[in-house]
């Protein structure tokens, strides 16, 4: 049987699709930064992934949806939890014992998996914006910086301006008044990154992390965040080539099962 299997991850800020064949080989992946309607966005992402794979829609045997918007995907054959999908996806890329740190727009989680891709422990936060991608989004916009460039801008900052507010709403006022005081943007951004790393490190410590961390989700491409988190936890951090599609990859593996 030569079918293909699809996974779709509907996040708060991005929609991702991955196709695999029946030997778990990744055929294609597509990722889009969007806040559009979940079902329209998911269909679009899936069609793009099919196009990239050179296959046709008829080859697609099973589709599994995950992510915060999974309930809207009525054409999916099954829904699966974000934690399980992260574990399966990361384990396919790195078949080893590890701790996955997944930082999304409105949630972040630390997941311990063993060498058989089984989740042994996890902690997540989806109640508060502190430490999430939205926190960085709000602060970048207050500082007039493109979120995609935020990590690079402060990567070599000689100084870190500490942000004392925990809440994103209060941190925004704090950042704005610091700009008025003349604090350089890179120092403020460094402080914003430090605040996020502080929150993420605290949940990672709660799972008692394994020897290696695999960083996934939209913020995994941020080089400053990676550097600071690595220093803070003193654990090697690996970032997959395409960290935003790990959840969708896990969903595709579920589809094959």
């Amino acid at each position: 049987m030569t079918g293909i299997f699809g996974g779709i991850d509907i996040g708060n800020r991005s929609i991702n699709a991955v196709l695999i064949d029946d030997h778990n080989i990744i055929l294609s992946s597509y990722s889009k930064f969007t806040q559009e309607n979940a079902i329209i966005g998911a269909k679009h992402a899936l069609n793009k992934a099919i196009e990239l794979s050179g296959k046709s829609f008829e080859d697609l045997k099973v589709i599994v949806a995950t992510g915060v918007g999974k309930k809207w995907i009525n054409f999916a054959n099954k829904k699966s939890s974000e934690v399980v999908c992260q574990a399966l996806g990361a384990s396919l890329l790195y078949p080893q014992e590890m701790t996955i740190v997944n930082i999304g727009a409105e949630s972040y989680r630390a997941i311990n998996v063993n060498e058989r891709a089984v989740v042994t422990n996890y902690v997540e936060n989806d109640k508060c914006a502190a430490g999430s991608g939205i926190f960085l989004e709000e602060m970048s916009s207050a500082l007039g910086v493109d979120i995609e460039k935020a990590g690079e801008i402060c990567f070599n900052s000689p100084r870190i301006e500490k942000i004392s507010s925990f809440c994103a709403v209060f941190a925004e006022s704090e950042v704005v008044s610091a700009i008025h005081r003349g604090i350089p943007i890179e120092e403020l951004l460094a402080g914003v990154h430090e605040a996020i790393v502080e929150r993420i490190a605290s949940i990672v410590r709660r799972v008692k992390p394994n020897k290696e961390i695999v960083l996934t989700g939209g913020l995994a491409n941020n080089i400053c965040l990676k550097k600071m988190l690595q220093e803070k936890l003193d654990i090697t951090i690996i970032v997959p080539e395409n960290p935003t599609v790990v959840g969708a990859l896990g969903a595709a593996i579920q589809a094959k099962r």
Binding site: C128, A129, I134, V169
Partner: protein, 263 residues
Amino acid sequence: MWAGIDIGSLSAEAVIMNSEKILSYAILPTGGNSIKIAEKVFQKAVSFIKNVSESDIKYVVATGYGRVIVPFADKNITEITCHAKGIHYLHPSVRTILDMGGQDCKAIRCDESGKVINFVMNDKCAAGTGRSLEIVAHVLGVELEDLGGMSLGASKESKISSRCAVFAKSEVLSLNRAGVPKNEIVAGVHDAITDNVLELVSRVEIEEDFAITGGVAKNKGIVKKIEEKTGLRLIIPFEPQIIGALGAALFAREASLQAYMLD
């Protein structure tokens, strides 16, 4: 004459009183310069009283988060203590106070003499503060002052599932885009905020009478929600924003009289 000054995160208040009564009060937005605003709000309150100048004020107590930077204050006292003192002066029967300010929210229990027995405070998170209502008003393009009235007219209520003010902002935005009537969204926001603050109040255990103070107390939608959920009638002072400053003025009077006795 004595004065109390409350420098909050979003607004500043001054109250001037003599040995008998409150003579005047003023409320101004805090803005960027706390020292300047302390002087301004004090001057404004003084200007309301005929033939009186600032030098006639014998003793000034400052309170609120900016209390330490009021240069002309003789003393500063925490806002928790001042709130209990202020409410006791106006409504001696009150034992529980919910103060909903611009950037924090506190529940205070006091005894029959207006002394604080217990308090719980949230100043780490914007959920349930005036600031979160400001964000909602901004996203919906309506005035902060109109939120209360809007929600009272709603026949239905949207469900706001986020507790975090930042996440709630996205929820409000997408409900608004989906064409949900604004008053239903606002009613939903009020419901979520009320749940948040009542959790705080439950930690000090509500004892009657129950009063609400701070800028948010002017929001009739929130007040009605709290009354519905607790089954209690709320006492709302004639000007809920000046209670901290009033308490400070009362402490100024006491301190000044004590000094006089010692002389």
